[in-house]
Symmetry: C2
Subunit: 578 residues, 2 copies
């Protein structure tokens, strides 16, 4: 029943199961990937070079059936930021890896140049299979083909054409419950790290025996129920609630209303046309077209924010048009058409790219004069450039900052090289503090200050108040803990407001590990994860000056509130003080 | 007679002469540009954004007629490194600017998007003239046209097509005595800073009155003679000496012999075919073809390392095929053909690009599989991509690191984003310490350890010895002083060995300024310049981890000596200790 580390050396062509060292036994998810990357990857390693590693780790509770526990963390030194990266996703792949008894899957070394393999983790053994037939193929088709080749009883993770390009916006795709490429460790270019090892896909068979060990079943069950109860009671997460009914896109109207929904490369904070791409509007269309809404991204989910979007004729499914994706590929490009956004999102899923970075990239290219804001046709043609691996495609696949350089743009909304999500930090300061200080680069999930600033969840905070160091700090710590436990971040809405839910989380972790952690222990644990990550970044050359927003956001007022980002540097730095 | 600062605000369209503040009165060249950039440019400024500035400053002795004093410094925040940059050149433009009484020319603000101007500094006033007719034109033709438009009594500085692209390898071109585009503030992308202000060319008329003031003529004259004597006696700098006879390319055979001449993107340290592109071979060809050798890059030069290369039929002049350029565009790309190298160099001069970065870029593209090493035809076609402003051209014009990312290359020979010159730091450690620690990024001129390590000038140092912190430190300080005085760095060969020459330098500086500096004062002055630069970089986010060579040079042995770069980090950091 003991969980193992599976180490695959693509330079040597070896696969070895290793015992889990004592120091890693009580870690999972982000805590485990970040600690192992910190321990094993030299901070000066070139992200695509032989000394970087890609590590997959399910969370501590992943695969146990606790609610919303289907998360997997992928970690590496990021080609996009040059720092440590953990990017997590909800997918049945997570549960399957955990149930197979793999606590961490380490991909290291590099195969011969331009050689790609499928790593098959089957019930009768592991093997590396040549992937030549899959090169240059979109992931929708590739996943179908993999199912034909390896059967239906599998989950898949893989990299697309963007990964083959070694591009810094190559994400890692995972199957959703329908077997489609729609779940993503999108951010930070980890797909390029995977591809540079020579791994194109990992195919894992559903194991015959569930190898997850729950040390204290009683505590675990008690916790699982408490958490389920909290999730089913909170307005945001309950059945029929906001996420259930409209998915994450419920935020389009809310954030647009707040004046913080970036339009046309962060030039304005609202536009009436945003309503045309709102979650409400989308849910209506999905119903009409015969898509799926609500939908689970992974088996244990009870929130069901996911969905399957289709074209008007019910064809070409896309899972899922998230709020962030709709915004990035929509209003941020001056595009207010769900069909165009759907096609762009499908292309991203198919090419293996992060939608947030991709949308920012298109917007920056528009700012640079490559095409006009609002030109949906033009944006779709840009995707073809990536399919065709043209020079322009190589530029675009490398993300917003890279593309900005190609076109001489000086307004580039990135931190540590990573493009910003769907909240302008000028009128919503707390999320700006998270963007600035997270070791991950601009990342809303790293410390989601929007909850108290806009949604009134987990207390209330004035979005214009510049004292947000403390808020971002505690959210970042809690997030690091949740990402390590293996829970979906959306449980936070419930557990921030309902104490019993938080207890449930701690109980389930204690149940699996046989530990006796307090809530405070768990927060401290999150703090340690962050410090490990920050220390890696420091050794990789980052300083506090990298914990800053780009110049234009400090100088240029954002309509309609006409505010700049004016959180003082000292407030930003306070995130790292005790 | 008083010198002024000329400030041109391209946002406001204003030109103002200002008095020189007390704190800048005794500064010139690099000391002045670096101090002003440090004082006036916010360290978080986007290099192409409205808050960066480009500053030209002649050296303290520039224009006085002291030997080899025709230098100009250009300074800004670099688009290539993200740090402070000073890039200096020898050109008649320097003398002319100084004699016109301009101690510093500051270009700030930004003109309207895609609007370009010629800044004319005429004897009857200054004006901004629209430059529309010159866009997309090569600099050879453009400089001819400018001479037609503004007369022959002018010197020019300008940016080419690379600058119009906002590309990080856009250099600033200056006229040579023949009026051609061949002298360069090449490194660090300052051409993109100039272009982003909306300045395409600066045309300066020879002034009717020489406004240079020499406070103590007697001391100055004494110094000038001492320096001239030293230069005329030292083997490297004298008439008929190495530089006079063969130009800087005399080093091709010497460095190849040492095992430190990088071949095929820093994969080997020597190749017998290097002899085909040696300085000796080139001098022979120039003679045969009717080019010019030796040649002065600027009026006061008595070393005359420069030259004018031509095609076999004596046409298409190129000034000058430097050692660094021949290496970068030649052996480093596996190209051993002077005619191909000459054409590539001419394209760089015409496009407005640094040859070192351009050669490294081609080599990295070759490593990335875009074309084969040795493919000279292919390399020339890459230049057409830049002329045509294609997407591939935009990639290439942004330099080696950027191009490496486009093609997924993990062996990229850069420090702080700037590509390495023609000495592999693995078998010649001292130059590696300079590459690593210079605030400028990888730059041989910042502290030319090759002199003692290979040439036996300024003492002797074992190139394989890893104790090189002290050597690089003192060379970097001396260099910063020379770059500020306005002397060509090549006087260092003579003044390192001949004490009287060094005295001459200090005397001339004292003569111009009316000061009484000692040699020690001057070295301390160099130290202060470096500290100003390093402090700017620190505020811009650099840490000591940025003072490192790329990973592959630390891990990968270089034939024929089969050594890695093994100077410890502490030794590197010692450059910044007292």
């Amino acid at each position: 029943m003991t969980q193992k580390i599976l180490r695959v050396d693509m330079g040597k062509g070896t696969l070895n199961y290793e015992d889990v060292p004592e120091k890693y036994r009580r870690l999972g998810g982000r805590a485990l990937t970040s600690k192992m990357i910190s321990d094993e990857v030299p901070p000066n390693a070139h992200p695509l070079g032989p000394n970087n590693k890609l590590i997959f780790a399910p969370g501590i509770v992943t695969g146990t059936g606790s609610p919303n526990s289907g998360r997997i963390s992928a970690g590496a030194k990021s080609p996009l930021t040059g720092g440590i990266k953990e990017s997590n996703a909800g997918t049945p792949f997570a549960k399957t890896l955990a149930q197979k008894g793999i606590k961490a899957l380490v991909i290291e070394g590099k195969a011969k140049k331009d050689k790609y393999y499928i790593l098959k983790l089957g019930n009768d053994g592991e093997e590396l299979v040549e992937a030549d037939d899959y090169l240059g193929m979109g992931l929708y088709k590739a996943y179908d083909k993999l199912h034909e080749e390896f059967g239906d009883n599998i989950e898949i993770t893989g990299v697309g054409i963007a990964g083959e390009l070694g591009a810094a916006n190559a994400g890692i795709s995972y199957t959703d419950p329908e077997g489609m490429s729609s779940r993503y460790s999108g951010r930070g270019g980890l797909g390029a790290v995977m591809a540079s090892r020579g791994i194109k896909f990992i195919v894992i068979e559903e194991p015959e025996e569930d190898k997850i060990e729950i040390k204290d079943k009683e505590t675990f069950d008690k916790g699982r129920k408490k958490l389920a109860k909290a999730l089913s009671e909170h307005d945001v997460t309950k059945k029929g609630g906001a996420l259930y009914s409209y998915g994450t896109s419920v935020l389009i109207n809310i954030i647009n209303e707040s004046g913080g929904l970036p339009q046309r490369n962060f030039s304005e904070g609202s536009d009436d046309r945003s309503a045309q791409v709102s979650g409400e509007r989308k849910a209506e269309e999905i119903k009409k077209r015969g898509g799926v809404r609500p939908h689970k991204c992974s088996p244990s989910c009870i929130i069901r924010c996911s969905e399957i979007w289709t074209k008007e004729d019910g064809k070409d499914p896309v899972g899922v048009l998230e709020y962030e994706s709709v915004w990035a590929l929509g209003p941020n490009c001056g595009i207010y058409d769900l069909d165009v956004i759907g096609e762009l999102n499908r292309a991203c899923n198919d090419l293996g790219m992060d939608t947030i970075e991709a949308g920012n990239t298109i917007a920056v290219a528009m700012e640079g004069g490559l095409l006009d804001f609002g030109d949906g046709e033009g944006a779709l043609k840009l995707m073809d450039e990536i399919y065709n691996k043209t020079a322009l495609g190589r530029i675009l696949a490398n993300g917003a900052e890279y593309t900005g350089r190609a076109f001489g743009v000086d307004r580039i909304p990135t931190v540590k090289g990573q493009a910003m999500p769907a909240y302008d930090p000028r009128p919503i300061k707390g999320i700006g503090v998270t963007y600035a200080t997270s070791p991950m680069g601009a990342d809303h999930t790293a410390g989601y200050a929007i909850a108290p600033e806009i949604m009134g969840v987990g207390g209330e905070a004035d979005p214009f108040d510049i004292k947000k160091g403390e808020l971002s700090k505690s959210l970042q710590r809690a997030t690091a803990a949740i990402d390590s436990a293996g829970y979906c971040l959306f449980i936070a809405f419930a557990i921030l407001d309902i104490e019993e839910g938080l207890e449930g989380v701690v109980d389930t972790v204690n149940g699996v590990l046989g530990t006796d952690y307090s809530i405070e222990d768990v927060m401290n644990f999150g703090k340690q994860v962050l410090e490990t990550e920050r220390e890696f970044n420091k050794r990789a050359g980052f300083s506090k000056e990298d914990d800053r927003l780009p110049e234009f956001m400090i100088k240029e007022e954002l309509p309609p509130h006409n505010v700049v980002f004016d959180v003082p540097d000292e407030e930003l730095d306070s995130v790292w003080e005790d």
